[in-house]
């Protein structure tokens, strides 16, 4: 059943390919603002780079979320899926996987580019992609909880940020810290392990919470 749901997401995404690029553009533009706002000085940028990349990725991921839920909620598809006997937790899990595939994965792929742009030390470049690779699954799932809670609300966007961003803090801390450590030439396997643990933990628990939330939102 998961396969059927995921195939549908892939097919729907394939029909609006242009939207795939939007989060990427957002990611690049926001990262590009920092040199303007702070300083073009390479050493300063290098210091900011890990945090900037992580915060931008986090925002891009959160803003792209709406596209995965809103349409299906508005046209009744989510309700039809539940009524066809699909567990809400499975629906949410599929959405999170699709969100990861179509938003997070492209971000991970271009993230080294931004690292180079912001003059990140070469030893930190690979760490950017690796930490994002391990941290983004947890972020997608936490976001899925927030989205399931707010999908029924007309202006849920800001509220979603208020609900989800505090929960992102641990992932942000360890992600940026891992990149920092790598840029300074230290080992960052501890941070990677923490991110992996967070992802495993959220994958196993968050779908239940998000599924319950989705059921509540569908009742409105």
């Amino acid at each position: 059943m998961f396969r059927v749901l995921l195939l549908r997401e892939i097919r729907l995404m394939a029909r609006r390919k242009s939207e795939l690029v939007n989060p990427l553009m957002f990611f690049l533009i926001v990262a590009m603002l920092f040199p303007f706002g702070v300083s073009p000085e390479p050493t300063i940028l290098a210091q900011l780079a890990p945090g900037v990349i992580w915060v931008c990725a986090l925002l891009a991921l959160m803003l792209s979320l709406d596209g995965f839920y809103r349409d299906d909620f508005d046209d009744g598809s989510l309700r039809q899926m539940v009524m066809s006997g699909v567990a809400p937790a499975l629906i949410v899990l599929t959405k999170a996987v699709a969100n990861w595939l179509f938003t997070a994965l492209p971000l991970i792929i271009v993230s080294p580019l931004i690292g180079v742009m912001l003059n990140l030390h070469p030893s930190g470049i690979a760490a950017v992609a690796l930490t994002l690779l391990l941290g983004t699954p947890a972020m997608c799932l936490i976001a899925a909880i927030g989205m399931s809670l707010t999908v029924g609300l007309r202006r849920g966007g800001i509220l979603l940020a208020l609900l989800v961003l505090p929960l992102y803090i641990p992932i942000l801390i360890f992600g940026a810290m891992g990149v920092n450590a790598a840029a300074m030439g230290q080992s960052y396997s501890g941070q990677l392990l923490f991110l992996a643990a967070m992802s495993v933990f959220t994958v196993s628990l968050a779908p239940w919470a998000a599924g319950a939330a989705l059921k509540v939102s569908l009742g409105e």
């Binding site: 059943m1 059927v4 549908r8 097919r11 729907l12 029909r15 609006r16 349409d71 508005d74 046209d75 009744g76 598809s77 989510l78 309700r79 039809q80 899926m81 539940v82 009524m83 066809s84 006997g85 699909v86 059921k215 569908l218 009742g219």
Partner: protein, 209 residues
């Protein structure tokens, strides 16, 4: 033919916001019956259906189904619910839309072409639903009734956006479902002309709590 069943709603009450939509609401629906829920706009017809399908918890009362035990497990396996929003994606073709729900239901060898022809969309199989009119989109959803063999249909205002021929066709379909031992719960503002046993449930607004 579907195996025999009876759904019973006992002493339901539902409050939404400040309004008591209904109380002491009782009904039964068995195989071979149509339950026609009537009431003015805002009388709580859709809310009652949402309560039945488990999206809203009633403030009082409960549903049961015999001879099964667990109502909601039975319901999700044996119910097709079509409401105001039909769950038809504009970005998918007519067949893709139907195939998705047929897959979820686990229908073996679904015959999409004849179902699509039966709802008057012959030749539109590979068209994107986005290119169809509102009424035609509703017809795609109605084609699911022909593809997914489930015992209970819950139809919320199914006649909306259908032309005269479409309405007559749907009424015929409902009769056929009932004759096959299924059951239909339906709300409608347009009169239904049905040649079978129809029990009526009138939701008269009860006002404040």
């Amino acid at each position: 033919m579907y195996s025999r069943f009876t759904i019973t709603a006992q002493d339901l009450a539902l409050i939404r916001g400040d309004r008591l939509l209904f109380k002491h609401c009782n009904f039964t629906v068995s195989s071979g019956q149509v339950l026609y829920i009537k009431g003015a706009n805002g009388a709580g017809k859709t809310s009652l259906l949402n309560t039945l399908t488990g999206f809203i918890e009633p403030d009082n009362g409960a549903f049961s189904v015999s001879p099964e035990n667990h109502f909601h497990t039975w319901l999700t396996r044996n119910t097709l619910y079509l409401g105001h929003h039909t769950g038809i994606k504009s970005a998918l073709t007519v067949t893709e839309n139907l195939a998705f729900y047929a897959h979820l239901r686990g229908v073996t060898k679904p015959d999409f072409t004849s179902a699509i022809a039966a709802v008057g969309l012959a030749g539109f199989d590979e068209q994107l639903a986005a290119h169809l009119s509102q009424g035609q989109k509703r017809r795609i959803a109605l084609a699911r009734l022909l593809i997914e063999p489930v015992a209970l249909w819950i139809l919320d205002e199914p006649l909306v956006a259908l032309d005269v021929d479409g309405q007559a066709w749907l009424c015929g379909l409902i009769e056929q479902q009932v004759n096959n031992g299924g059951a239909v719960i339906v709300t409608s503002h347009q009169p239904l002309t049905l040649n079978c046993t129809v029990s009526e449930l009138e939701l008269a607004g009860v006002g404040n709590v």
